[in-house]
Protein backbone atom coordinates (compact mmCIF):
# COMPACT_ATOMS: atom_id res chain seq x y z
CA UNK A 1 0.00 0.00 0.00
CA UNK A 2 1.29 3.41 -0.97
CA UNK A 3 1.70 5.37 2.22
CA UNK A 4 1.96 8.77 0.62
CA UNK A 5 -1.75 9.20 0.09
CA UNK A 6 -3.95 10.19 2.99
CA UNK A 7 -6.18 7.35 4.20
CA UNK A 8 -9.88 8.02 3.70
CA UNK A 9 -12.20 8.54 6.61
CA UNK A 10 -15.04 6.06 7.04
CA UNK A 11 -18.45 7.59 6.46
CA UNK A 12 -21.33 5.70 7.94
CA UNK A 13 -24.09 6.74 10.31
CA UNK A 14 -27.08 4.60 11.12
CA UNK A 15 -30.42 6.47 11.30
CA UNK A 16 -30.61 6.29 15.09
CA UNK A 17 -27.12 7.71 15.41
CA UNK A 18 -27.95 10.43 12.90
CA UNK A 19 -30.95 11.47 14.95
CA UNK A 20 -28.91 11.62 18.14
CA UNK A 21 -26.24 13.60 16.38
CA UNK A 22 -28.54 16.09 14.71
CA UNK A 23 -31.62 16.06 16.91
CA UNK A 24 -30.62 19.32 18.50
CA UNK A 25 -30.30 21.20 15.23
CA UNK A 26 -33.53 19.68 14.02
CA UNK A 27 -35.43 20.63 17.17
CA UNK A 28 -34.14 24.18 17.06
CA UNK A 29 -35.13 24.55 13.44
CA UNK A 30 -38.60 23.11 14.05
CA UNK A 31 -39.12 25.31 17.09
CA UNK A 32 -38.11 28.36 15.09
CA UNK A 33 -40.50 27.52 12.29
CA UNK A 34 -43.33 26.77 14.70
CA UNK A 35 -42.90 30.05 16.50
CA UNK A 36 -42.52 31.96 13.25
CA UNK A 37 -45.84 30.60 12.12
CA UNK A 38 -47.87 30.75 15.29
CA UNK A 39 -46.44 33.45 17.54
CA UNK A 40 -47.22 37.07 16.78
CA UNK A 41 -44.31 39.55 16.75
CA UNK A 42 -41.80 36.72 16.70
CA UNK A 43 -40.32 37.21 13.29
CA UNK A 44 -38.82 40.67 13.55
CA UNK A 45 -35.21 41.81 13.44
CA UNK A 46 -35.48 43.36 16.88
CA UNK A 47 -36.80 40.15 18.34
CA UNK A 48 -34.07 38.13 16.72
CA UNK A 49 -31.48 40.38 18.33
CA UNK A 50 -33.20 40.01 21.68
CA UNK A 51 -32.98 36.25 21.40
CA UNK A 52 -29.34 36.32 20.39
CA UNK A 53 -28.54 38.72 23.20
CA UNK A 54 -30.19 36.48 25.78
CA UNK A 55 -28.41 33.44 24.43
CA UNK A 56 -25.11 35.26 24.46
CA UNK A 57 -24.44 35.53 28.17
CA UNK A 58 -25.48 32.03 29.09
CA UNK A 59 -23.76 30.78 25.97
CA UNK A 60 -20.46 32.28 27.04
CA UNK A 61 -20.71 30.74 30.49
CA UNK A 62 -21.66 27.42 28.90
CA UNK A 63 -18.64 27.57 26.61
CA UNK A 64 -16.29 27.74 29.58
CA UNK A 65 -18.27 25.07 31.39
CA UNK A 66 -18.11 22.80 28.36
CA UNK A 67 -14.38 23.13 28.01
CA UNK A 68 -13.86 22.07 31.61
CA UNK A 69 -16.48 19.34 31.32
CA UNK A 70 -14.72 17.86 28.32
CA UNK A 71 -11.67 17.54 30.53
CA UNK A 72 -13.76 15.69 33.06
CA UNK A 73 -14.15 18.66 35.38
CA UNK A 74 -17.58 19.85 36.41
CA UNK A 75 -17.18 23.47 37.33
CA UNK A 76 -20.33 24.57 39.12
CA UNK A 77 -18.74 27.57 40.78
CA UNK A 78 -20.49 29.67 38.15
CA UNK A 79 -22.71 31.55 40.58
CA UNK A 80 -19.85 32.42 42.86
CA UNK A 81 -17.65 33.66 40.04
CA UNK A 82 -20.51 35.63 38.48
CA UNK A 83 -21.13 37.33 41.80
CA UNK A 84 -17.48 38.06 42.45
CA UNK A 85 -16.74 39.38 38.98
CA UNK A 86 -19.84 41.54 38.97
CA UNK A 87 -19.14 42.94 42.41
CA UNK A 88 -15.48 43.60 41.62
CA UNK A 89 -16.50 45.50 38.52
CA UNK A 90 -19.05 47.59 40.41
CA UNK A 91 -16.88 48.30 43.43
CA UNK A 92 -13.73 49.25 41.52
CA UNK A 93 -15.37 51.07 38.64
CA UNK A 94 -18.33 52.73 40.32
CA UNK A 95 -17.51 53.12 43.98
CA UNK A 96 -13.78 53.72 43.70
CA UNK A 97 -13.94 55.43 40.35
CA UNK A 98 -11.17 53.41 38.73
CA UNK A 99 -10.71 53.61 34.96
CA UNK A 100 -12.46 50.87 33.05
CA UNK A 101 -9.36 49.14 31.60
CA UNK A 102 -7.77 48.80 35.03
CA UNK A 103 -11.01 47.48 36.49
CA UNK A 104 -11.26 44.88 33.76
CA UNK A 105 -7.66 43.86 34.33
CA UNK A 106 -8.33 43.26 38.00
CA UNK A 107 -11.44 41.26 37.13
CA UNK A 108 -9.38 39.10 34.78
CA UNK A 109 -6.79 38.53 37.50
CA UNK A 110 -9.56 37.76 39.98
CA UNK A 111 -11.06 35.19 37.61
CA UNK A 112 -7.64 33.66 37.10
CA UNK A 113 -7.25 33.33 40.87
CA UNK A 114 -10.64 31.65 41.29
CA UNK A 115 -9.61 29.20 38.57
CA UNK A 116 -6.41 28.49 40.49
CA UNK A 117 -8.31 27.92 43.72
CA UNK A 118 -10.61 25.49 41.96
CA UNK A 119 -7.76 23.63 40.35
CA UNK A 120 -5.88 23.42 43.63
CA UNK A 121 -8.93 21.80 45.20
CA UNK A 122 -9.33 19.33 42.36
CA UNK A 123 -5.75 18.45 41.50
CA UNK A 124 -3.78 18.99 44.70
CA UNK A 125 -6.41 18.25 47.30
CA UNK A 126 -7.85 15.59 44.99
CA UNK A 127 -11.43 16.53 45.68
CA UNK A 128 -14.11 15.57 43.18
CA UNK A 129 -14.65 18.56 40.90
CA UNK A 130 -18.40 18.86 41.40
CA UNK A 131 -18.03 18.85 45.18
CA UNK A 132 -15.02 21.13 45.17
CA UNK A 133 -16.59 23.77 42.94
CA UNK A 134 -19.84 23.73 44.87
CA UNK A 135 -17.80 24.59 47.92
CA UNK A 136 -15.74 27.28 46.20
CA UNK A 137 -18.91 28.80 44.76
CA UNK A 138 -20.02 29.58 48.30
CA UNK A 139 -16.57 30.86 49.07
CA UNK A 140 -16.54 33.28 46.14
CA UNK A 141 -20.12 34.34 46.83
CA UNK A 142 -19.13 35.07 50.41
CA UNK A 143 -16.23 37.24 49.31
CA UNK A 144 -18.51 39.08 46.91
CA UNK A 145 -21.08 39.81 49.61
CA UNK A 146 -18.36 40.95 51.99
CA UNK A 147 -17.07 43.40 49.38
CA UNK A 148 -20.41 45.12 49.00
CA UNK A 149 -21.64 44.79 52.53
CA UNK A 150 -24.73 43.15 51.09
CA UNK A 151 -25.83 46.20 49.14
CA UNK A 152 -26.50 46.44 45.49
CA UNK A 153 -24.47 49.00 43.54
CA UNK A 154 -25.99 50.90 40.68
CA UNK A 155 -23.70 51.76 37.78
CA UNK A 156 -23.97 55.44 36.97
CA UNK A 157 -20.75 56.02 35.05
CA UNK A 158 -21.47 55.67 31.36
CA UNK A 159 -18.36 53.97 29.95
CA UNK A 160 -19.10 50.40 31.05
CA UNK A 161 -22.40 50.37 29.28
CA UNK A 162 -20.96 52.44 26.49
CA UNK A 163 -18.47 49.70 25.72
CA UNK A 164 -20.38 46.55 26.48
CA UNK A 165 -23.75 47.58 25.16
CA UNK A 166 -22.31 48.99 21.97
CA UNK A 167 -23.61 47.71 18.69
CA UNK A 168 -20.83 47.58 16.14
CA UNK A 169 -22.41 47.08 12.72
CA UNK A 170 -25.75 47.06 14.46
CA UNK A 171 -25.10 43.84 16.36
CA UNK A 172 -24.62 43.72 20.12
CA UNK A 173 -21.02 43.52 21.27
CA UNK A 174 -22.17 40.62 23.43
CA UNK A 175 -23.04 38.66 20.34
CA UNK A 176 -19.68 39.42 18.73
CA UNK A 177 -17.95 38.32 21.90
CA UNK A 178 -19.97 35.13 21.98
CA UNK A 179 -18.88 34.23 18.49
CA UNK A 180 -15.29 35.10 19.37
CA UNK A 181 -15.37 32.88 22.44
CA UNK A 182 -16.87 29.99 20.52
CA UNK A 183 -14.50 30.46 17.64
CA UNK A 184 -11.47 30.37 19.92
CA UNK A 185 -12.92 27.47 21.86
CA UNK A 186 -13.49 25.51 18.69
CA UNK A 187 -9.96 26.02 17.45
CA UNK A 188 -8.52 25.21 20.85
CA UNK A 189 -10.43 21.97 21.20
CA UNK A 190 -10.08 20.65 17.68
CA UNK A 191 -6.80 21.98 16.40
CA UNK A 192 -4.40 22.23 19.26
CA UNK A 193 -2.39 19.82 21.31
CA UNK A 194 -3.97 21.20 24.46
CA UNK A 195 -7.42 20.47 23.10
CA UNK A 196 -6.46 16.86 22.42
CA UNK A 197 -5.22 16.65 25.99
CA UNK A 198 -8.52 18.01 27.33
CA UNK A 199 -10.39 15.19 25.64
CA UNK A 200 -7.82 12.58 26.66
CA UNK A 201 -7.91 13.62 30.29
CA UNK A 202 -11.68 13.62 30.24
CA UNK A 203 -12.12 10.16 28.82
CA UNK A 204 -9.29 8.34 30.55
CA UNK A 205 -7.46 10.29 33.22
CA UNK A 206 -5.00 7.50 34.00
CA UNK A 207 -4.15 6.90 30.38
CA UNK A 208 -3.51 10.59 29.91
CA UNK A 209 -1.30 10.81 32.96
CA UNK A 210 0.71 7.74 32.06
CA UNK A 211 1.20 9.04 28.54
CA UNK A 212 3.09 11.96 29.93
CA UNK A 213 0.30 14.55 29.77
CA UNK A 214 0.71 17.04 32.58
CA UNK A 215 -2.69 16.63 34.09
CA UNK A 216 -2.17 19.27 36.76
CA UNK A 217 -1.44 21.88 34.14
CA UNK A 218 -4.35 20.85 31.95
CA UNK A 219 -6.69 20.97 34.96
CA UNK A 220 -5.48 24.45 35.81
CA UNK A 221 -5.92 25.75 32.29
CA UNK A 222 -9.39 24.25 31.93
CA UNK A 223 -10.66 25.72 35.18
CA UNK A 224 -9.07 29.10 34.55
CA UNK A 225 -10.73 29.29 31.14
CA UNK A 226 -14.05 28.37 32.70
CA UNK A 227 -13.66 31.12 35.30
CA UNK A 228 -12.60 33.70 32.71
CA UNK A 229 -15.59 32.94 30.50
CA UNK A 230 -17.91 33.33 33.45
CA UNK A 231 -16.24 36.59 34.42
CA UNK A 232 -16.67 37.95 30.90
CA UNK A 233 -20.34 37.01 31.03
CA UNK A 234 -20.61 38.70 34.42
CA UNK A 235 -19.22 41.99 33.11
CA UNK A 236 -21.59 41.99 30.14
CA UNK A 237 -24.54 41.10 32.33
CA UNK A 238 -23.64 43.80 34.85
CA UNK A 239 -23.44 46.36 32.08
CA UNK A 240 -26.77 45.23 30.77
CA UNK A 241 -28.48 45.23 34.14
CA UNK A 242 -26.94 48.50 35.20
CA UNK A 243 -26.15 47.16 38.66
CA UNK A 244 -24.40 44.34 40.40
CA UNK A 245 -25.94 40.97 39.75
CA UNK A 246 -25.87 40.29 43.44
CA UNK A 247 -29.07 41.01 45.35
CA UNK A 248 -28.60 40.37 49.01
CA UNK A 249 -27.16 36.90 49.01
CA UNK A 250 -28.26 35.53 45.68
CA UNK A 251 -27.89 36.15 42.01
CA UNK A 252 -31.21 36.51 40.29
CA UNK A 253 -31.80 35.26 36.82
CA UNK A 254 -28.87 32.87 36.69
CA UNK A 255 -29.13 29.27 37.57
CA UNK A 256 -26.43 26.66 37.29
CA UNK A 257 -29.00 24.18 36.03
CA UNK A 258 -29.51 26.19 32.86
CA UNK A 259 -25.82 26.07 32.15
CA UNK A 260 -25.98 22.32 32.65
CA UNK A 261 -28.91 22.06 30.28
CA UNK A 262 -27.14 24.00 27.59
CA UNK A 263 -24.00 21.94 27.97
CA UNK A 264 -25.84 18.63 28.07
CA UNK A 265 -28.06 19.45 25.11
CA UNK A 266 -24.88 20.48 23.39
CA UNK A 267 -23.51 16.99 23.80
CA UNK A 268 -21.28 17.42 26.79
CA UNK A 269 -21.04 14.34 28.93
CA UNK A 270 -21.07 14.57 32.67
CA UNK A 271 -18.57 11.73 32.55
CA UNK A 272 -16.05 13.77 30.68
CA UNK A 273 -14.39 13.45 27.32
CA UNK A 274 -17.29 14.35 25.10
CA UNK A 275 -18.71 17.54 23.79
CA UNK A 276 -18.50 19.74 20.79
CA UNK A 277 -18.45 23.36 21.61
CA UNK A 278 -20.30 24.53 18.53
CA UNK A 279 -23.37 22.59 19.58
CA UNK A 280 -23.55 24.58 22.80
CA UNK A 281 -24.25 27.68 20.79
CA UNK A 282 -27.23 26.02 19.19
CA UNK A 283 -28.35 24.69 22.57
CA UNK A 284 -28.15 28.17 24.08
CA UNK A 285 -30.13 29.48 21.14
CA UNK A 286 -32.68 26.75 21.55
CA UNK A 287 -33.32 27.69 25.17
CA UNK A 288 -33.39 31.39 24.38
CA UNK A 289 -35.82 30.74 21.53
CA UNK A 290 -38.06 28.74 23.77
CA UNK A 291 -38.07 31.38 26.47
CA UNK A 292 -38.71 34.16 24.00
CA UNK A 293 -41.59 32.34 22.35
CA UNK A 294 -43.23 31.59 25.67
CA UNK A 295 -42.82 35.21 26.72
CA UNK A 296 -44.48 36.46 23.55
CA UNK A 297 -47.29 34.03 24.11
CA UNK A 298 -47.66 35.35 27.66
CA UNK A 299 -47.37 31.83 28.93
CA UNK A 300 -47.21 31.47 32.71
CA UNK A 301 -43.77 31.00 34.29
CA UNK A 302 -44.63 27.44 35.24
CA UNK A 303 -44.67 26.38 31.59
CA UNK A 304 -41.12 27.60 31.13
CA UNK A 305 -39.92 25.80 34.22
CA UNK A 306 -41.71 22.61 33.24
CA UNK A 307 -40.26 22.60 29.76
CA UNK A 308 -36.81 23.38 31.13
CA UNK A 309 -37.14 20.40 33.42
CA UNK A 310 -38.20 18.17 30.55
CA UNK A 311 -35.28 19.35 28.44
CA UNK A 312 -32.90 18.69 31.31
CA UNK A 313 -34.17 15.16 31.88
CA UNK A 314 -34.10 14.44 28.20
CA UNK A 315 -30.53 15.67 27.92
CA UNK A 316 -29.36 13.55 30.85
CA UNK A 317 -31.07 10.45 29.47
CA UNK A 318 -29.42 11.06 26.14
CA UNK A 319 -26.02 11.33 27.80
CA UNK A 320 -26.50 8.16 29.86
CA UNK A 321 -27.78 6.20 26.87
CA UNK A 322 -24.86 7.33 24.78
CA UNK A 323 -22.39 6.28 27.48
CA UNK A 324 -23.95 2.85 27.63
CA UNK A 325 -23.85 2.47 23.90
CA UNK A 326 -20.20 3.46 23.81
CA UNK A 327 -19.30 0.93 26.46
CA UNK A 328 -20.39 -1.96 24.27
Amino acid sequence: MQSTSLPSRPLRLRPAEWLLENGLYLSTLLLFIAFALFVPNFLSLDNMLVILGAAAIKGIIAAGFTLAAISGLLDVSVIGVLALASVLTAVLYERLGWPLPLTLLVVVVGAYLTGLVNSWMVHNARINSFVATTATSSLFLGVAIALTGGQSIVITRPELQGVFLARPLGINLAIWLTFAVYGLGYVLLNHTKLGAHFYAMGINYQAARLSGIRVGRVTRIALVISAMATALAAVIATARAGNTLLFGTTITGYDVSEIFIIALLGGVSLFGGYGRIERNLVAALFLALLYNGLQLLSAPASVWLLLKGVAFIFAILFDTLRQRQQAR
Binding site: M1, S3, T4, L6, P7, R9, P10, N190, H191, T192, K193, G195, A196, H197, Y199, A200, I203, N204, Q206, A207, A208, R209, L210, S211, G212, I213, R214, G273, Y274, Q326
Partner: protein
Protein backbone atom coordinates in the same frame (compact mmCIF):
# COMPACT_ATOMS: atom_id res chain seq x y z
CA UNK B 1 27.86 -3.07 24.13
CA UNK B 2 29.23 -3.41 27.63
CA UNK B 3 27.36 -0.63 29.37
CA UNK B 4 23.87 -1.85 30.13
CA UNK B 5 21.17 0.35 28.67
CA UNK B 6 19.26 0.05 31.94
CA UNK B 7 20.58 -0.74 35.37
CA UNK B 8 19.16 -0.69 38.85
CA UNK B 9 21.41 -0.53 41.90
CA UNK B 10 20.03 -1.65 45.25
CA UNK B 11 16.62 -0.41 44.11
CA UNK B 12 13.98 -0.70 46.80
CA UNK B 13 10.39 0.33 47.32
CA UNK B 14 8.31 -0.04 50.44
CA UNK B 15 4.67 0.73 51.03
CA UNK B 16 4.42 1.10 54.76
CA UNK B 17 5.28 -2.29 56.19
CA UNK B 18 5.28 -4.02 52.83
CA UNK B 19 8.61 -4.30 50.99
CA UNK B 20 7.50 -4.61 47.40
CA UNK B 21 10.98 -4.32 45.90
CA UNK B 22 14.12 -5.20 47.89
CA UNK B 23 17.60 -4.20 46.86
CA UNK B 24 17.31 -5.14 43.20
CA UNK B 25 20.54 -5.07 41.17
CA UNK B 26 19.59 -5.63 37.59
CA UNK B 27 21.31 -5.02 34.27
CA UNK B 28 19.53 -5.03 30.95
CA UNK B 29 21.65 -5.06 27.81
CA UNK B 30 20.73 -2.93 24.86
CA UNK B 31 18.99 -4.61 21.96
CA UNK B 32 17.92 -7.67 23.92
CA UNK B 33 14.60 -9.08 24.97
CA UNK B 34 14.70 -9.56 28.73
CA UNK B 35 11.89 -11.52 30.33
CA UNK B 36 10.99 -10.49 33.87
CA UNK B 37 9.20 -13.34 35.54
CA UNK B 38 7.97 -14.19 38.98
CA UNK B 39 4.87 -15.20 40.85
CA UNK B 40 2.04 -12.82 41.66
CA UNK B 41 3.19 -10.37 44.27
CA UNK B 42 6.87 -11.00 43.55
CA UNK B 43 7.36 -7.34 42.75
CA UNK B 44 7.58 -7.29 38.96
CA UNK B 45 4.94 -4.59 38.46
CA UNK B 46 6.38 -2.48 41.23
CA UNK B 47 9.85 -2.73 39.77
CA UNK B 48 8.54 -1.67 36.40
CA UNK B 49 6.62 1.24 37.89
CA UNK B 50 9.81 2.42 39.56
CA UNK B 51 11.58 2.38 36.22
CA UNK B 52 8.73 4.08 34.39
CA UNK B 53 8.36 6.88 36.90
CA UNK B 54 5.01 5.97 38.39
CA UNK B 55 6.59 5.19 41.75
CA UNK B 56 9.60 6.84 43.36
CA UNK B 57 12.19 4.55 44.98
CA UNK B 58 12.48 4.26 48.74
CA UNK B 59 16.16 3.53 48.19
CA UNK B 60 18.62 2.75 45.42
CA UNK B 61 19.32 4.15 41.98
CA UNK B 62 18.36 3.75 38.40
CA UNK B 63 21.03 4.18 35.72
CA UNK B 64 20.19 4.65 32.07
CA UNK B 65 22.87 4.36 29.37
CA UNK B 66 25.59 4.55 31.97
CA UNK B 67 24.31 7.69 33.67
CA UNK B 68 22.41 8.03 36.90
CA UNK B 69 18.82 8.97 36.21
CA UNK B 70 16.32 10.98 38.22
CA UNK B 71 12.96 9.61 37.29
CA UNK B 72 10.31 11.49 39.23
CA UNK B 73 7.38 11.18 36.87
CA UNK B 74 6.18 9.28 33.81
CA UNK B 75 7.37 12.21 31.68
CA UNK B 76 10.94 11.86 32.95
CA UNK B 77 10.95 8.19 32.06
CA UNK B 78 9.53 8.89 28.61
CA UNK B 79 12.22 11.48 27.96
CA UNK B 80 14.83 8.83 28.70
CA UNK B 81 13.29 6.56 26.11
CA UNK B 82 11.61 4.28 28.61
CA UNK B 83 8.28 3.39 27.07
CA UNK B 84 5.98 1.26 29.18
CA UNK B 85 2.91 -0.50 27.88
CA UNK B 86 0.69 -1.22 30.87
CA UNK B 87 -1.61 -4.15 31.21
CA UNK B 88 -4.71 -2.06 30.73
CA UNK B 89 -2.99 -0.49 27.73
CA UNK B 90 -3.88 3.06 28.81
CA UNK B 91 -5.85 3.67 25.62
CA UNK B 92 -8.57 6.25 25.12
CA UNK B 93 -11.37 4.00 23.87
CA UNK B 94 -13.62 6.45 22.15
CA UNK B 95 -10.93 8.16 20.14
CA UNK B 96 -9.43 6.76 16.99
CA UNK B 97 -6.16 4.98 16.38
CA UNK B 98 -4.31 8.11 15.27
CA UNK B 99 -5.14 10.09 18.38
CA UNK B 100 -4.25 7.14 20.59
CA UNK B 101 -0.94 6.58 18.88
CA UNK B 102 -0.06 10.19 19.42
CA UNK B 103 -1.53 10.56 22.90
CA UNK B 104 0.46 13.17 24.77
CA UNK B 105 2.80 13.47 21.85
CA UNK B 106 0.72 15.11 19.16
CA UNK B 107 2.37 16.61 16.12
CA UNK B 108 1.86 20.28 15.49
CA UNK B 109 2.61 22.80 12.81
CA UNK B 110 1.89 26.39 11.98
CA UNK B 111 2.86 29.57 13.82
CA UNK B 112 4.27 28.86 17.28
CA UNK B 113 3.48 25.21 16.57
CA UNK B 114 0.09 25.35 18.18
CA UNK B 115 -2.03 23.69 15.55
CA UNK B 116 -2.43 19.94 15.37
CA UNK B 117 -1.07 18.44 12.21
CA UNK B 118 -3.80 15.89 11.55
CA UNK B 119 -2.49 15.07 8.13
CA UNK B 120 1.04 14.25 9.20
CA UNK B 121 -0.21 12.24 12.17
CA UNK B 122 -2.49 10.15 9.98
CA UNK B 123 0.33 9.38 7.55
CA UNK B 124 2.77 8.58 10.35
CA UNK B 125 0.17 6.37 12.03
CA UNK B 126 -0.27 4.39 8.84
CA UNK B 127 3.47 4.01 8.47
CA UNK B 128 3.90 2.69 11.99
CA UNK B 129 1.06 0.23 11.64
CA UNK B 130 2.55 -0.97 8.38
CA UNK B 131 5.94 -1.38 10.03
CA UNK B 132 4.35 -3.55 12.69
CA UNK B 133 2.49 -5.42 10.00
CA UNK B 134 -0.69 -4.83 11.91
CA UNK B 135 -3.99 -5.69 10.30
CA UNK B 136 -5.93 -2.73 11.61
CA UNK B 137 -8.24 -1.69 8.76
CA UNK B 138 -8.23 2.06 9.22
CA UNK B 139 -6.33 4.53 11.34
CA UNK B 140 -9.59 6.39 11.88
CA UNK B 141 -11.21 3.42 13.55
CA UNK B 142 -12.14 4.17 17.18
CA UNK B 143 -10.09 1.98 19.47
CA UNK B 144 -13.09 0.46 21.19
CA UNK B 145 -13.92 -1.33 17.94
CA UNK B 146 -10.57 -3.09 17.80
CA UNK B 147 -9.80 -6.61 18.96
CA UNK B 148 -7.41 -7.35 21.85
CA UNK B 149 -4.47 -8.02 19.57
CA UNK B 150 -5.09 -4.87 17.56
CA UNK B 151 -5.29 -2.77 20.71
CA UNK B 152 -2.03 -4.27 21.85
CA UNK B 153 -0.55 -3.22 18.52
CA UNK B 154 -1.78 0.35 19.04
CA UNK B 155 -0.34 0.43 22.55
CA UNK B 156 3.01 -0.84 21.29
CA UNK B 157 2.80 1.46 18.27
CA UNK B 158 2.66 4.35 20.65
CA UNK B 159 6.09 3.46 22.00
CA UNK B 160 7.49 3.50 18.48
CA UNK B 161 5.97 6.90 17.80
CA UNK B 162 7.58 8.15 20.98
CA UNK B 163 10.95 6.86 19.81
CA UNK B 164 10.98 4.56 22.80
CA UNK B 165 14.24 2.68 23.19
CA UNK B 166 13.42 0.56 26.22
CA UNK B 167 10.00 -0.92 25.68
CA UNK B 168 8.36 -2.52 28.67
CA UNK B 169 5.48 -4.88 28.04
CA UNK B 170 3.43 -5.87 31.06
CA UNK B 171 1.71 -9.20 30.36
CA UNK B 172 0.94 -8.32 26.74
CA UNK B 173 -0.61 -11.66 25.88
CA UNK B 174 -2.59 -12.24 29.06
CA UNK B 175 -6.00 -11.54 27.58
CA UNK B 176 -5.34 -12.73 24.04
CA UNK B 177 -6.28 -15.76 22.04
CA UNK B 178 -3.80 -18.04 20.31
CA UNK B 179 -3.51 -16.26 16.99
CA UNK B 180 -3.27 -12.81 18.52
CA UNK B 181 -0.65 -14.03 20.98
CA UNK B 182 1.41 -15.19 18.05
CA UNK B 183 1.10 -11.73 16.49
CA UNK B 184 2.31 -10.05 19.65
CA UNK B 185 5.29 -12.36 20.03
CA UNK B 186 6.20 -11.74 16.41
CA UNK B 187 6.00 -8.04 17.16
CA UNK B 188 8.39 -8.45 20.08
CA UNK B 189 10.91 -10.05 17.79
CA UNK B 190 10.45 -7.32 15.22
CA UNK B 191 11.14 -4.74 17.93
CA UNK B 192 14.41 -6.44 18.72
CA UNK B 193 15.32 -6.56 15.04
CA UNK B 194 14.72 -2.80 14.99
CA UNK B 195 17.32 -2.43 17.71
CA UNK B 196 14.95 -1.83 20.61
CA UNK B 197 15.39 -3.22 24.07
CA UNK B 198 12.34 -5.08 25.31
CA UNK B 199 11.48 -5.97 28.87
CA UNK B 200 8.73 -8.55 28.83
CA UNK B 201 6.73 -9.37 31.94
CA UNK B 202 4.95 -12.63 31.53
CA UNK B 203 3.69 -15.71 33.32
CA UNK B 204 4.01 -17.90 30.29
CA UNK B 205 7.22 -19.92 30.33
CA UNK B 206 6.88 -21.10 26.76
CA UNK B 207 6.73 -17.49 25.56
CA UNK B 208 9.87 -16.79 27.55
CA UNK B 209 11.67 -19.63 25.87
CA UNK B 210 10.40 -18.52 22.48
CA UNK B 211 11.38 -14.86 22.42
CA UNK B 212 13.61 -13.93 25.35
CA UNK B 213 17.39 -13.54 25.28
CA UNK B 214 17.76 -12.99 28.99
CA UNK B 215 15.57 -13.99 31.89
CA UNK B 216 15.31 -12.31 35.28
CA UNK B 217 13.39 -13.97 38.10
CA UNK B 218 11.85 -12.15 41.02
CA UNK B 219 10.79 -13.73 44.28
CA UNK B 220 9.31 -11.84 47.18
CA UNK B 221 10.66 -8.49 46.05
CA UNK B 222 14.17 -9.69 45.31
CA UNK B 223 15.84 -10.42 42.04
CA UNK B 224 16.90 -13.98 42.74
CA UNK B 225 18.21 -15.17 39.42
CA UNK B 226 19.36 -13.91 36.05
CA UNK B 227 20.34 -16.11 33.17
CA UNK B 228 20.52 -16.40 29.43
CA UNK B 229 17.77 -18.36 27.76
CA UNK B 230 20.27 -20.88 26.40
CA UNK B 231 21.43 -21.74 29.92
CA UNK B 232 18.05 -22.64 31.31
CA UNK B 233 14.73 -24.33 30.64
CA UNK B 234 11.11 -24.07 31.71
CA UNK B 235 11.47 -26.38 34.68
CA UNK B 236 14.38 -24.50 36.15
CA UNK B 237 12.61 -21.22 35.70
CA UNK B 238 9.49 -22.44 37.45
CA UNK B 239 11.59 -23.70 40.33
CA UNK B 240 13.25 -20.30 40.64
CA UNK B 241 9.91 -18.57 40.60
CA UNK B 242 8.89 -20.68 43.57
CA UNK B 243 11.97 -19.64 45.46
CA UNK B 244 14.24 -22.61 44.96
CA UNK B 245 17.88 -21.82 45.60
CA UNK B 246 20.74 -24.08 44.59
CA UNK B 247 23.17 -23.38 47.51
CA UNK B 248 22.47 -26.43 49.65
CA UNK B 249 20.01 -29.24 50.17
CA UNK B 250 18.80 -27.74 53.46
CA UNK B 251 17.17 -24.80 51.78
CA UNK B 252 14.35 -27.03 50.57
CA UNK B 253 13.90 -28.53 54.02
CA UNK B 254 13.88 -25.06 55.54
CA UNK B 255 11.04 -24.15 53.27
CA UNK B 256 9.07 -27.18 54.37
CA UNK B 257 9.47 -26.34 58.02
CA UNK B 258 8.56 -22.74 57.28
CA UNK B 259 5.36 -23.85 55.71
CA UNK B 260 4.50 -26.10 58.63
Amino acid sequence: MDIPILETRALSKSFGAVDAVRGVNWQVQSGTVCALIGDNGAGKSSLIKLISGVYQPSAGEIWVRGEKAQINSPQDALKLGIAPVYQDLALVESRNVVMNLFLGNELTHGPLNIFLDHRRMALEAQRVLLEMRSRIPSVFEPVRKLSGGQRQAVAIGRTLIRQGEIIILDEPTAALGVEQTGEVLALVQRLREAGKTVILITHNMSHVMQVADQVAVMYRGELVHTTRKEDTDEHQLVARIMGWKPENKESKENKETEAA
